[in-house]
Symmetry: C2
DNA sequence: TGTTAGCACTTGGGCATGTTGAGTGCTAAG
DNA sequence: CTTAGCACTCAACATGCCCAAGTGCTAACA
């Protein structure tokens, strides 16, 4: 039996199964695809594929469905990236318009991606460890409460309330502000922990306690892990795509709600810069996603975008959509 | 037939049905509750209740289940608020500890509430129209890009990127900053639209175009509707509670994702300051929630907290939990 | 050696039929 | 007004049957 045809058969099975959601048999296969052979031959091929663990039969006399391993081979060796439709391109392009507020863009990105793929879309906030300090502000909220605001040149603004031990004077605060600002403006956020102590050390002794607290606040704000958030959209697609095929939706929702889980998942996926990465079924590190696949890729300076859906999904189209969206995202955010 | 007993029967039906998820019959009813009468009598009462539209039979020979109207009566006239368990009180108390960052608190609130009730918990960000301007900052990101930051005395920080028509000088920006700040510091956010025009008018002519843009930015930031966001947790509970009773989960997820829908829903609900409001099944303005109920109440200065779950839910316990959480929330955020 | 036709075999799903039991409504007596 | 009794209804379950889809195997074929 020829190797190319075997792959062709696997490809046909995957495509038919994704389309029909039903086990696919040898006869239907030869009818729908013009493989130049008879169903008997296909049966032989399928027996081999089953032996190799690429497909499986739910019960004795039913068609075959792809296994995780089968999907894996399909994705790695067979599937060709489908070009996007004109309408899809247009939809992605329209992302370029509108305000360039990061939050807005990401929001629209996940919506778009979930609509394009009919899956749950997920995007990680852009990494900012390369970002530079643009401005810092201390605002007195109450006699003993100071709001610390840190603004990066990327336009990201983070803030935190800190409590002082004793009453804080406005003049003192302004003095400290200019001291800090003079030392840290223009430095990388990631370097703040190294720079800040010296600023504190140079402060007048009576302000040092306060300065220390402010420094702590700034440092925690610069901690990029604070930015490790994800945004998602399209959870309703989970319910729709499984209306007659009850993938247990509960565990998946749980995983999606646990940002930690999703972040791990995304960052565990390789970061092949030119292609998208796919994690299929039990390949996922999280048990609740045993029947789900994740298709993701990096954008900009290393954060991830992707989708999550049932293992039975249209990989070529999905992968194309994810890749295209990631590219546009990189372009907009200036990767 | 006595009116009090009729209500008692309704109450028993609701409680049993919520507990067992199965239509409840006359015989089971007399066994499980010590109503002092026989099943035949209950049958008569049930016939009356059915005539009044308070309960219904799925088919000829099955028990009865409460209708929306039945739940309504149950909630309005029968159910007594259950006291919370010690463990629940403790859990809520622990909310008081930890950082008083608004985001953190709300985040923990929804998590807690969803765990307490086993439903989807929803919280609206606190209203800020009474908030005062504490500080405003203009930061030059690029020659033609300015980041406008508005800080309120509540500690809320909002920002927006605006594009200028021509290159912006740093000195000009600083000048405008002090002008704006001098005029708007301490005024209510809600009043900004009235105050800002005069500030623009008093600017030197060559800066007026820029000033106008900045004013627009500030105004849009002060727009409280921008703050009308909601936070939620526990969507996985939707799947769990309906494992053997397929409430169509799809439309519900859709509603939850459409913040607009949820916001309308919450604000449409009355704001009885001392009690919680319940919206049952088809009472909801949104079709997708025809089989769901919302239990919500106000907190702080008028924003809402609540939960969403199947109409078949344990109203007394849920209402107690929502009320308790809302009270603590008001206390922490200083209602 | 790979392909094909033919065929016996397996099996889940659909369908008709029968049975059961929970639950009802009604009536007549207490 | 309550109750016991009874005939009736009907979903849920079980049983048996058949059918179509699909398989694996074997023997013939190129």
């Amino acid at each position: 039996m020829s190797e190319p045809r075997k792959l062709e058969v696997l490809r046909a099975i995957v495509e038919d199964y994704v389309h029909s959601r039903e086990p696919v048999g040898s006869k239907a296969l030869v009818e729908r695809h013009h493989l130049g052979v008879s169903s008997a031959t296909i049966r032989n091929d399928m027996a081999v594929l089953e032996e190799e663990g690429l497909i499986a039969a739910p019960h004795t006399s039913a068609g075959r469905i792809p296994t995780d391993k089968g999907y894996r081979l399909f994705v790695d060796r067979i599937s060709q990236v489908k070009p996007l439709s004109a309408a899809e391109r247009r939809a992605i392009h329209s992302l370029l318009e509108g305000p360039d507020d990061v939050d807005d863009i990401l929001e629209r990105t996940v919506r778009l991606l979930s609509q394009l793929t009919n899956q749950v879309a997920v995007v990680q906030y852009p990494h900012s460890h390369r970002a530079l300090v643009r401005h810092a502000e201390f605002v007195l909220l109450a006699p003993k409460q100071v709001l610390v605001v840190l603004i990066a040149d990327t336009g990201s603004v983070v803030q935190k309330v800190i409590d002082a031990v004793s009453d804080v004077g406005n003049e003192a605060l302004m003095l400290l502000r200019s001291r800090f600002l003079g030392s840290i403006a223009g430095t990388q956020l990631a370097l703040l922990p190294q720079v800040l102590p010296s600023v504190v050390a140079l402060c007048p002794p009576d302000l040092r306690a306060l300065a220390q607290r402010l420094a702590n606040g700034l440092e925690s704000l610069s901690d990029t892990s604070r930015e490790e958030r994800i945004l998602m959209a399209g959870t309703a697609n989970l319910a729709r795509s499984n209306v007659d095929f009850p993938l247990s939706i509960g565990p998946v929702l749980e995983a999606l709600e646990e940002q930690v889980v999703m972040l791990r998942l995304l960052s565990d996926m390789g970061d092949d810069p030119r292609g998208v990465t796919v994690s299929i079924g039990r390949e996922n590190p999280y048990d609740g996603l045993a029947e789900a696949s994740v298709v993701a890729t990096g954008y900009g300076s290393g954060a991830k975008v992707g989708i999550l859906g049932p293992t039975r999904m249209d990989y070529p189209t999905t992968m194309a959509a994810v890749r295209a969206v990631a590219r546009y995202l990189s372009r907009i955010l200036g990767g």
